[in-house]
Amino acid sequence: MNPADTNQVCSAKIDASCRVPLLALFGGAALWLVLGLAFALIASLTFHNPEILAYCPCLTYGHTLAAANNLLVYGFAIPAALGVILWIFARLSQAELVLPIVPVAAANLWHLGVFVGVATIFGGGSSGYTWLEFPRAAAALLGVSFVLVAISAVATFGQRQERELYPSHWFLLAALLWFPWIYSTSNLFLGSNHPVRGVAQGVINWWYADNLVFVWLALVGLGTAFYFIPKISGQPLKSRFYALFAFWTLILFGTWIGIPAGAPVPAWLPTTSALASYMLIIPIIAVAVVLVKTLWGAKVASFGGIFCYMRFGTVMFLISALMLVVQACPKHGSVLEFTWFGQAQVQLQILGFVGLILCGAIHDILPQIMSTELPFKKFVQVQFWLSFAGLALYIIPLAVAGVMQGNAVYDPAAAKVPLMICTSGLMLLLAGAVLLLVNILVMTFKWKIALAKSAYAAVTAPLESSEVKS
């Protein structure tokens, strides 16, 4: 057996060890993605006719939108990211997943937590804090499950053969440490019986929102992209130094943004935040340099394939971060603050950047852990182009709506037309998400049927003669 073969056998074993936990994480994530986009679509109907949901107390715009956003981040992005982290860590360590049963249990607890949280939002039990709408019970489930998955991931990380870390390790390991810290802090400071007093709540809420939606998602998205882009393009990541620079500047400056310019808090807070936002230009340039240098001269034929997901997703990160810088400039910020422009940035970060990269990673990982082809291989390309068109029809009109709304000084009727266009973008994104869900479901059912068949065959098989006592 030559070394390449041993490596393949080894990879097959590693992938098999990831199978059940990753199916549990990805399957739920795809389902929540579909539901999240469906609720976002329902919420956007309000732009066409404000009365459309008025008769159902559950489906107010405030409920539907909060549910949609929470489903996209807690339902889809985080479990999908955890699955990708587990697999990348196992592959980079050249070791089987440690304690695979723990992430399986954790994935189910996590999905239960998301279900409880969203049901509570529809029942009017939202906490009232942005990105922390889930009630305490759901938050406890999410926190515990995240730590359980992280334990398995870090234990696998500890098994690595090559002791020196690969750049993806920094980003993904940091993400595993990040979330428990920010989630416990914000829940203890805001969700306890004695929350902090007054507007300090607002500051902590902004800090959490920024660290979750900007920093955490950036760590996960870039860590995943830095693993897949060199692998698919066949060129090494160029360079380790630029990636390290991007990592440090991202976490140093990214953690301080998020306090809006006119906030009713002591002036040092928004000022620091604005400064940190300007400094974001440094990690933006560093990531762009890594992307361009790594891909320079690479010839990858990929018409909407996984490579497109990764490359386009990383470019979306650059745009989304640039939008944050623009919002921090006083001249534009005073017009764009409190408009749809900020929503466009958040949605681009979730659906454009991390959404694309994670969907691409799932398409790549699934056939390997199941050791079979995707049931509908064409769906990969179709979903990419649907998402591409959907993002163009969702994010661009939303950003334009923000500019129009800002220039019209928040006239509610100012941006009617672009907001209506958003609905069509969401429809396309939803169609793409359904394709992902179909692929995962069909794959899971086929695997379960095969399992049942082999179990049945094992039970009904005649005993071998050597085992029969004479």
């Binding site: 404000p50 107010t60 306090i259 709304q405 000084v409």
Partner: protein
């Protein structure tokens, strides 16, 4: 960074720094805040909400109103107006003052211009007051008289600052629209108000058969297309009344040390 410890170290430095700066710092600085005093009158600010308005804050939270409304006013700066209170004791002085007045710019001045203009008039023997007002797009739009400050939110839990103005800012809605019936009508049928894109909150109201005499709190003056069928009346449920009580309690209309302005009521023509 060659080991896991390096990453751990990076996270502790970066996230720890912002945790100290944006979580612990503000908690120490703002978390122990107490009531402040209103300029001029010396009253305490803010006052605790009534029980009904406190319940209304929870209705506001439960329905996710903060998805479309902010509760924070912004301000660019301040401007000064010089107002003549007495033209002087003798007709000669009055003529001189009015001659000077015609040459002076009296509105929308900065501090030095206002002092200079006031100085010129007082030198001649006239009497003036200098009025301070806040400026900025939010204030120009008529949403309030000053920017929001930390003290305004002392008794809020949760503090719902909001991040999108699909609808108007509500930081001073109680000062701007003080009529409870207007709010009830608007919540029931936003179409009454021209330009309103708010979804209706009909489920906070009950349409029921009217007795011989209409109920005390039934909505009156609903336009024909929004009014219930003959013999029926629209009555707000307790949640609707609580929500309106909360909206009326949202006021940022007193001058504070951090947000001074000259109250309009004291102005003399």
């Amino acid at each position: 960074m060659k080991s896991g410890f390096g990453v751990f170290f990076a996270v502790v430095i970066a996230l720890g720094g912002s945790w100290v700066g944006l979580v612990v710092g503000p908690t120490l600085q703002l978390g122990t805040a107490k009531q402040t005093t209103v300029l001029v009158s010396g009253d305490l600010w803010p006052q605790q909400r009534t029980g009904e308005a406190t319940l209304g804050m929870q209705v506001y939270r439960a329905n996710g109103c903060a998805a479309c409304h902010t509760e924070q006013m912004r301000q660019d700066g301040v401007s000064f107006d010089v107002v003549l209170t007495s033209p002087g004791k003798t007709p000669a002085v009055a003529t001189a003052v009015s001659n000077v007045l015609a040459t002076l710019k009296l509105n929308d001045l900065d501090k030095e211009e206002a002092d200079a203009a006031a100085g010129k008039i007082t030198d001649l023997g006239g009497k003036v007051e200098t009025h301070l007002s806040a400026t900025g797009t939010d204030i120009k739009r008529g949403w309030g008289v000053r920017h929001s400050v930390a003290a305004d939110y002392l008794y809020d839990a949760p503090v719902q600052l909001g991040n999108l103005r699909a609808g108007p800012d509500l930081a001073n809605v109680g000062g701007r629209l003080a009529d409870a019936n207007w709010h009830l009508n608007h919540l029931y049928a936003p179409g009454i108000v021209s330009g309103s894109r708010m979804p209706s909150f009909k489920f906070l109201f009950e349409v029921r058969k009217a007795g011989a005499k209409p109920s005390a709190d039934a909505l009156l003056n609903l336009p024909k297309e929004f009014a219930p069928a003959d013999g029926y009346e629209v009555v707000p449920k307790p949640e609707a009344k609580e929500l309106v009580a909360y909206l009326l309690s949202l006021r940022a209309d007193v001058p504070l040390y951090e947000a001074p302005f000259t109250p309009v009521t004291t102005a003399k023509p």
